[in-house]
């Protein structure tokens, strides 16, 4: 890592021109992926990434450069090229950095990078065996273990110097079930900002079993019906609905430039009063947590919507300038190769009062979406879509047959109003979220919710 003195010299050079703020983000990261097919360890890849990203602002204009050539001459050349974009000038401003100590809220016992390879391959084998022995129709099992240890240092011309370490691990098992020509897959992939001790509570066996269960259900599934109907979306990864339909549109990235359906809506009712939604980057050891954001601000718990009223956006420093609002500690990036912007961390709908069973009351015909896939949204129009990986028909208030091949589409503004019941069984699940600052780990979550009507795209027509 660059020393405090080197950072000071570089930041002073940044402000020689017309920039009014500068920041240096440096990282040193080791990541590792181990893949398994049918109980054989197929591939191991270990990657050492190290580089620096330098950013200069002039008002709301931003220039960014990154490189892995870390000698002072290369970094000076990078800065000079960036500085010139704001025109020539010769200002002298002294920078004194103050190291800010950050409390680590995400302790790690067994570092997943340092642990012996044999301990890690054992986790994959346990997941494989658990899935395989569920049923003889499980014809294939694959898995991957991903580990990362990222050290970051962030220094800026406001004198702040912060270091943080982010350690993450994730185990994914996919099971393939086959009966004749019909082949279906199921998977489970939990992860955490934690070491290998994570798998003591979330055992590889439970992960393998869940993957196999989901694949076997789909073997029996029929085509999903189409049309508008009430839908119950289960807890955990079901929270992807809020992430896509609403979360992205509350990021300053789209709000600041009037590119979101929720721009200018603070204090207004944007959801049914039973909805409270939170983005919390401080949850100990959660997948989307970190001690500081990628601009060096401490992570926060942000209430986005309280009882249906829009209370907060997720704001980074640059878009905060545009919106005349302070940062909410929401700046994130995949690596030094990306300029940070406002992103989600662990986002969820808070638990309500209803019992899960009560949600089904009065539904003559509907869909129960037990396992969701991913989705996407256009923040400008609010139109979103997401996939239902495991669904069931609801007939006369009861869960009946499993169905496959469904997706849900709608408009974020409307669906938030159409959530009419929220149960009390909150849980979270892990995902990777892609946007302009790259692919980052996030938790999505919710208790089971009921949406009074939503368009279900299926293949069956009556």
């Amino acid at each position: 890592m660059l020393s405090k003195e080197e950072c000071e010299v570089l930041l002073q050079r940044c402000l020689k021109g017309n920039a009014d703020f500068a920041e240096i983000f440096e990282e040193d990261t080791v990541s590792e992926g181990i893949s398994m097919v049918e109980g054989e360890i197929e591939e191991v890849n270990r990657i050492v990434r190290a580089g620096v990203g330098i950013r200069l602002y002039k008002d709301v204009q931003s220039v960014y450069g990154y490189t892995n050539e870390l000698d002072m001459n290369s970094l000076n050349a990078l800065i000079d090229g960036l500085r010139d974009a704001f025109g020539q000038a010769d200002h002298d401003k002294e920078i004194h950095l103050e190291r800010v100590e950050i409390e680590n809220r995400h302790p790690v016992v067994i570092d997943p990078i340092e642990a012996p390879l044999s301990q890690k391959t054992q986790l994959l084998m346990e997941g494989y065996q658990a899935a395989k022995k569920q049923d003889k129709r499980i014809v294939k099992v694959t898995g991957s273990l991903s580990n990362v240890h990222q050290n970051v240092q962030i220094a800026n011309t406001q004198g702040r110097l912060v270091q943080d370490t982010r350690v993450r691990t994730r185990l994914a098992i996919s099971a393939y079930a086959q009966e004749g020509e019909n082949m279906q897959s199921g998977s489970d992939s939990p992860g955490a900002s934690q070491g290998l001790e994570f798998y003591e509570t979330r055992t590889p066996e439970s992960i393998g079993k869940e993957a196999a269960r989901s694949a076997l259900v789909l073997l029996e599934a029929q085509d999903c019906p189409s049309g508008k109907m009430p839908v119950i979306i289960d807890n955990g990864f079901g929270g992807v609905i809020f992430h896509e339909a609403c979360g992205h549109s509350l990021e300053a990235t789209s709000v600041a430039k009037n590119q979101s359906v929720f721009t200018g809506k603070l204090g207004q009712a944007i959801a049914n009063s039973c909805v409270t939604a939170i983005d919390d980057g401080t949850i100990p050891n959660a997948w989307g947590s970190e001690n500081v954001d990628d601009e060096g601000f401490p992570q926060q718990k942000r209430v986005l919507i309280r009882n249906g009223i829009l209370e907060n956006y997720m704001v980074d420093r640059l878009n905060g300038r545009r919106m005349n609002q302070p940062s909410t500690g929401s700046a994130r990036r995949q690596s030094y190769k990306f300029e940070p912007t406002s992103r989600m961390t662990n986002t969820y709908i808070a638990p309500g009062k209803d019992k899960f069973e009560d949600l089904f009351e009065g539904i003559e015909k509907g869909l129960y979406a037990r396992k969701m896939g991913g989705g996407s949204v256009n923040p400008q129009t609010g139109e979103f879509n997401f996939a239902v990986n495991e669904g069931y028909l609801i007939e006369n208030g009861k869960i009946t047959k499993p169905v496959k091949g469904a997706s849900l589409i709608g408009n974020g503004k409307e669906i938030l109003m159409d959530i009419d019941r929220v149960s009390d069984n909150l849980s979270r699940a892990q995902g990777m979220c892609g946007s302009s600052s790259g692919s980052i780990p996030v938790d999505v979550g919710q208790p089971a919710i009921r949406v009074s009507k939503i368009t279900v795209g299926g293949t069956a027509h009556e």
Partner: protein, 441 residues
């Protein structure tokens, strides 16, 4: 980096072979917003990936920070990794082979920062002035990327090449009353000074305006044309069916289907990394294996899969020169390059006339989630327009289109002639299908 010293160290420690892959990438991009330069990004990153065989097993590592004095430690880690692998088929790095070099004659003219900013400013003004319903220009940018790769191995292979591209992109918002629609276009720019801005502005804005006044339609099963861009994204999602690795693992449903009729006889698919009509070409893959043109599907019959050295070994065949990495740091996988569904004879307008009544899908969303690769079922958010009596009628949005890809590709009515590579490496013309399940109101 003293590559020979690394190779010698690996061989002395008992490795069978070693390969060093290096890539240098540099990028410059600028975006423009509301009359001002919004962002500028400059970058330069050198990445080194080292892989080697120890007792028939391939170990991999990649570095952005590496020094010659690390070599002993790195080689030891590679050997430790290889000992843990349990794959049955031997893996190997490649012997050098001679090959003919195809060159693509593109005359890239690198614009100055000033010319880029002037062009973006002009472009913003033209976009805003095009029609009063163009409400906002969300994103306007120029980007250039330069990359070089170099592969050296202990068997004497030593190859290198370079690649370059320059693009302009624009994202506009059109609105009328409560209705808001967007459109995003990317265009390759050889010489910014001679680029036809007006034609680009027309294309970006017309497509956004055409989407206005769109509504959903009742759920039904109906004839559908997937317009070239939408068909390309669908084809891209399923091109992995021909991937030798997924065939070997039994995840592709084309396993055991070689020489069988899998699609309509109107479908022929060709992969050719040396096709100079496409933006980029490669004379060799990321293992140094020479590339060539191959037909994957011949009039509906599956005749060839794509292979890297590893998957070819597993399936007892030869590499097709499709061993590519998704970035310098990734391991070698199998991927198509410049792969196309061969165009037919009809323009999109003629396809609409032949269909007479039906739906044209111009845009698909959520492809990373709404596709089940194993069963090939998909259900995707779509938009487009209705065709009535052979002519474009009402615009359609917020519908889903669902089908099984294998069944769909057996129900081809006609293949269009509108294949334009643009920046794509996988491409399809428009295709008219008998029917698809549409869900809407």
């Amino acid at each position: 980096m003293n590559k020979q010293a690394w190779i010698q160290c690996a061989l002395e420690k008992g490795m069978d072979s070693l390969e060093i892959y290096q890539s240098l990438s540099s990028r410059r991009s600028m975006t423009w917003y509301e009359g001002k330069l919004d962002t500028l990004t400059n970058s330069r990153v050198m990445g080194t990936s080292i892989r080697g065989v120890y007792q028939d097993k391939m170990a991999n590592m990649a570095f952005e920070k590496i020094a010659d004095e690390d070599k002993e430690k790195v080689i030891d880690q590679l050997i430790e990794q290889a000992k843990l692998l349990s794959t049955k088929e031997p893996d190997q790095i490649r012997e050098p082979e001679s090959f003919e070099i195809v060159k693509k004659e593109t005359k890239w003219v690198r614009p100055s920062n000033e010319l880029v900013q002037q062009t973006l400013q002009d472009l913003e003004q033209k976009l805003k002035a095009y029609d009063s319903r163009i409400l906002q220009v969300n994103e306007l940018g120029y980007e250039e990327a330069f990359g070089s790769r170099c592969i050296t191995n202990s068997l004497g292979l030593d190859v290198q090449d370079e690649d370059q591209m320059q693009i302009l992109m624009a994202y506009v918002v059109a609105g009328q009353g409560e209705d808001v629609q967007v459109n995003y276009e990317v265009e390759i720019v050889e010489d910014l000074a001679r680029f036809d801005l007006d034609a680009f502005v027309k294309k970006v804005c017309d497509k956004a305006l055409e989407k206005l006044q769109a509504s959903s339609i009742p759920s039904q099963s109906m004839p559908v044309i997937f317009e070239s861009e939408a068909m390309t994204s669908l084809f891209e999602s399923f091109v992995g069916l021909f991937n030798g690795e997924l065939l070997y693992k039994g995840i592709s449903c084309l396993k055991d289907k070689m020489n069988e009729k899998i699609f309509s006889d109107k479908i022929t698919i060709v992969d050719d990394p040396r096709n100079t009509d496409a933006l980029s070409i490669a004379n060799f893959d990321d293992e140094g294996c020479p590339t060539y043109r191959k037909t994957l599907v011949e009039q509906g019959v599956f005749v060839q899969a794509l292979h890297s050295t590893k998957t070819a070994n597993c399936m007892h065949t030869q590499s097709t020169g499709n061993g590519f990495k998704s970035g310098y740091a990734s391991t070698v996988g199998v991927s198509p390059m410049n792969c196309q569904i061969i165009p037919g004879n009809h323009s999109l307008e003629e396809l609409c006339q032949i269909m007479n009544d039906g739906l044209v899908i111009t845009d698909l969303q959520g492809l990373h989630a709404g596709i089940d690769f194993v069963s090939t079922n998909f259900s995707l958010q779509a938009s487009g327009y209705l065709v009535k009596e052979g002519k474009r009628s009402q615009s359609v949005t917020l519908i889903t289109v669902a089908a099984n890809f294998m069944e769909l590709m057996r129900s081809v009515m006609e293949v269009g002639n509108d294949l334009d590579w643009s920046y794509h490496t996988i491409k399809s013309p428009s295709i008219y299908f008998e029917k698809c399940a549409i869900s809407g109101e």
